[in-house]
């Protein structure tokens, strides 16, 4: 059987030379059915053009580094199989809605600030000493927030969110899901400290339910659900007399 090839059209952008991004084509040998887009990029970097820049590490869908637009959809490139696109070319671009540093590398500092702003740590009025051993928590209590704790910060949901694309001040899907992860944790007492950010001007109420964040999430986190549930909960706190309990 003659060796198959597949065409990768990847974004190239070097701020030292280029006004704006452009696409460059590379033909890549497609020799194994289990090859993914990331393998194709690695082939380019190793054997064709060492200057192509992108982030990657674990190649098993858990480190969250290798998110890119693959034929217009946000994907983890370690989990986008060439066989699903061949024989047509694959266009690989940096994630939408983010500033581009170089080639396929986006600037995600904005998310890092948002992550910090929702205080993603256990907040307690009174810490229990280590000697008192663990908080008791049942698997059912973990189930309440488990889904939202599975976020790998891959930024696909931000790339899919037109609200974020139009207004980068929006807190966005992953940060809200992580805020909910802590708010629903039976060990946490920090809801009131997180409310100003979650319920603030650029918080959950900016979301007009496109729902695409949950569609593209590679980990089944469902950030849209987190946002809508938070809307309901904050409304209940506002409306109901006992709503402002801790």
């Amino acid at each position: 059987m003659p060796d198959k090839t597949i065409t990768i059209r990847a974004t190239r952008y070097d701020p030292e030379k280029d006004e704006k991004p452009r696409l460059q084509s590379y033909d890549v040998p497609f020799y194994d059915e289990s090859m993914v887009v990331l393998d194709a990029l690695n082939h380019i970097k190793s054997h064709v053009d060492g200057s192509l820049s992108y982030r990657w590490s674990c190649r098993m869908g858990i480190c969250g580094s290798c998110g890119m637009m693959v034929n217009g959809m946000p994907k983890l490139t370690c989990n986008a199989f060439l066989r699903d696109y061949w024989p047509r070319p694959i266009v690989v671009e940096p994630l939408n809605n983010f500033p581009v540093i170089r080639d396929l590398v986006i600037d995600m500092d904005d998310f890092m600030h948002k992550l910090k702003s929702i205080k993603p740590w256990i907040i307690r009025k009174q810490e229990i000493p280590l000697g008192a051993r663990e908080h008791r928590q049942t698997n059912e209590q973990i189930d309440d927030f488990r889904q939202f704790s599975e976020c790998i910060n891959c930024m696909l949901c931000y790339a899919a969110c037109p609200v974020y694309g139009l207004n980068s001040e929006f807190l966005g899907p992953a940060a809200t899901a992580l805020a909910r992860r802590y708010n629903l944790d039976s060990r946490d007492q920090g809801l009131k400290e997180r409310l100003p950010v979650i319920g603030g001007a650029e918080g959950i109420w900016e979301c007009s339910f496109v729902g695409e964040c949950s569609v593209v999430c590679p980990k089944g986190v469902d950030p849209a659900k987190a946002i809508q549930q938070t809307k309901l909960d904050t409304t209940m706190r506002f409306v109901l007399p006992y709503g402002n309990r801790d």
Binding site: K45, S57, M60, G64, I101, K116, K119, W121, I122, R146
Partner: protein
């Protein structure tokens, strides 16, 4: 060129590094802590750890049995005082992680649950489903965000340790985004850069595991300890090297050869699937050689079968395995056996450090996989490494903070010159070099294949000598390397070159340490010396950097306290 100064500087943002940073701050809230990592901390390879973290959690377990299991697992190459301290600290650290929000899986009464693991005589592995490393890393990273004393330099690549009068005073780091070289100075420096799996072709390790910290310390004159001890995990997915957690066997999965037989009965009859990794990996390779493996497009493999566990147990305890099978192999582990074969997984060896992470260089500490504090010896038991990151990360953080509070401040004068020299070196060797002909990628790929062939599950004098020669050839080719990318902005070809430089260093330390250890112990299996030789080799290997490819080797006695070396059978 810039100049930042800290009391404690942590290199590496994985579990050990983050734990060290928090420990330093909690030991002394006035310390200024810097953290340099070549990736955003939540990308660190801790994220891929699956099975769990070992600690004595219940009344019917004891520190002594955990210590004995670890020491026996290490084939008596572990330092026993270190192991004993580790077993006492591990439960405290597990509880600390719980208080920080780690979603440990629970018993019905709400206490932290444990599962069985290879080489452990009792159930003591705490877990968060089968994404333990992911949950621990995100928990400790998110917790670290609350400390104003910690300043992070994300995506900065450390190229050199600044050592002045045999004291470490900081690092030179390349800011990947801008291409600028910075001197980041500190009264104390903690290396927590993780493993070196990428020197092998078939590895579970991520692209970032290139042994940077080991090479940095090695070049600064610190010995690398027991580098011949490389762990091969029995169950990696062919082609991708994706790890199938040992918890699959812990939960009751079977390893079957092509005859449908649980072949481990011939190798570890009392432990079966819960034997230690080194022995099971050797058993698999032996079965392959004797013609009882499955043949696949990516080489021979075995079946790992969990079908008898049922969907409910699999979804509760091994959901990520099901996801990986579905996404990356196209199988459902509820109805199909998983193809697996041994894969490079972990480095027992590393930067020579003591029980509190101190290296022989004043002010330089090391923790986690990049360090060898003497815990793992010849073979690490599964689930001891996450606990190791916590216990020894915290220890190094506290020790570094303590040292920093009395150490002299770092002066700008010599640092400026050192920064200038280092920046010039990297620019001359890569960015501005004329006449290079060799690509980075092919040299790296050849090195990886050579390492698989020469320093794999089984080694011989011949395989290692050939490997040593070929590494020499690769080093010569690397001198003629050519870098396509002339940009300063996010130049990942420069970092790939720096990483390959580091990997060639640590690969040769592995090869020569392995060549000199003429016995079989733990993960180091010499076909030409199949027996353990306590009289001659109950010792740590220490490899020191020289101007040639071959390191200078020294040996140091293993610390034995309670457990006298015996035959290691399971």
């Amino acid at each position: 060129m810039d100049f930042e100064s800290y009391d404690v500087l942590v290199v590496g943002g994985g579990l050990a590094g983050l734990r060290a940073a928090i420990a330093a701050v909690e030991a002394n809230p006035r310390v200024k802590v810097g953290m340099v990592s070549k990736v955003y901390p939540m990308r660190s390879h801790t994220v891929s750890a699956e099975g769990g973290a070992a600690a004595v959690m219940s009344a019917d377990d004891s520190y002594d049995t955990h210590a004995f299991d670890t020491i026996k697992g290490s084939d008596y190459l572990a330092d026993q005082d270190v192991v004993e301290a580790f077993t006492r600290e591990a439960p405290v650290e597990i509880i600390q992680m719980e208080h920080w929000g780690c979603p440990w899986s629970r018993n019905p009464d709400g206490t932290i649950a444990v599962r069985p693991f290879g080489g452990m005589t009792t159930w003591r592995t705490c877990f968060a489903a089968d994404k333990t490393g992911f949950h621990m890393l995100h928990t400790v990273f998110q917790t670290s965000l609350k400390y104003p004393q910690i300043t992070r330099h994300d995506e900065a690549f450390v190229t050199k340790l600044l050592v002045e009068d045999s004291r470490c005073v900081g690092v030179v780091a390349l800011d990947i985004r801008t291409g600028r070289f910075d001197a980041i100075t500190a009264r104390s420096v903690i290396l927590a850069t993780g493993g070196l799996g990428r020197v092998y072709a078939f590895t579970t390790n991520g692209n970032i595991c290139t042994g940077d910290g080991m090479a940095l310390a090695y070049r600064a004159g610190v010995g690398l300890k027991d580098m011949e001890m490389v762990q091969f995990h029995p169950t990696g997915l062919p082609f991708t090297g994706i790890l199938i957690t040992e918890a699959v066997r812990g939960e009751g999965g079977y390893l079957l050869n092509s005859e449908g037989e649980r072949f481990l009965k011939r190798y570890v009859p009392n432990k079966m699937e819960l034997g230690p990794r080194d022995i099971i990996s050797r058993a698999m390779v032996t079965e392959f050689e004797e013609g009882r493996g499955f043949e696949g497009p990516h080489g021979k493999y075995m079946h790992l079968d969990v079908r008898h566990l049922g969907e409910k147990v699999i979804d509760r305890k091994l959901p990520f395995m099901r996801e990986l099978g579905r996404e990356f192999v196209g199988i459902d582990i509820v109805t199909d056996p998983i193809p697996v074969r041994p894969v490079q997984h972990y480095m027992m060896g590393g930067v020579d450090a003591d029980i509190s992470g101190e290296t022989p260089i004043l002010g330089l500490y090391a923790a986690g996989e990049c360090a060898n504090v003497g815990l793992n010896g010849g073979n690490r038991l599964g689930s001891n490494s996450l606990s190791e990151c916590l216990v020894f990360g915290a220890a190094a953080g506290r020790a570094a903070a303590h040292y920093a509070s009395s150490a002299k401040p770092v002066t700008a004068n010599p640092v400026d010159a050192m920064l200038w020299d280092e920046a010039r070196r990297v620019e001359a060797e890569y960015l501005e070099k004329k006449g290079g002909v060799e690509r980075i990628g092919p040299i790296r790929e050849e090195m990886q294949l050579e390492m698989d062939a020469g320093a794999g599950v089984f080694r011989t004098k011949e395989s290692l000598s050939r490997l040593a020669r070929n590494l020499g050839g690769l080093r010569e080719r690397f001198e003629k390397v050519k870098v396509d990318d002339s940009s300063r902005t996010f130049n990942t070809e420069i970092t790939a070159a720096l990483e390959l430089d580091f990997m060639l260093e640590v690969a040769s330390s592995i090869t020569f340490s392995a060549l000199a250890r003429e016995e079989s112990r733990g993960a180091h299996a010499r076909r030409d010396f199949p027996e353990r030789n306590d009289a001659k080799f109950l010792k740590h290997t220490l490899a020191f950097h020289t101007n040639t490819l071959a390191p200078r080797l020294e040996y140091r006695d293993v610390k034995i306290t309670t457990f006298k070396p015996q035959a290691r059978t399971y």
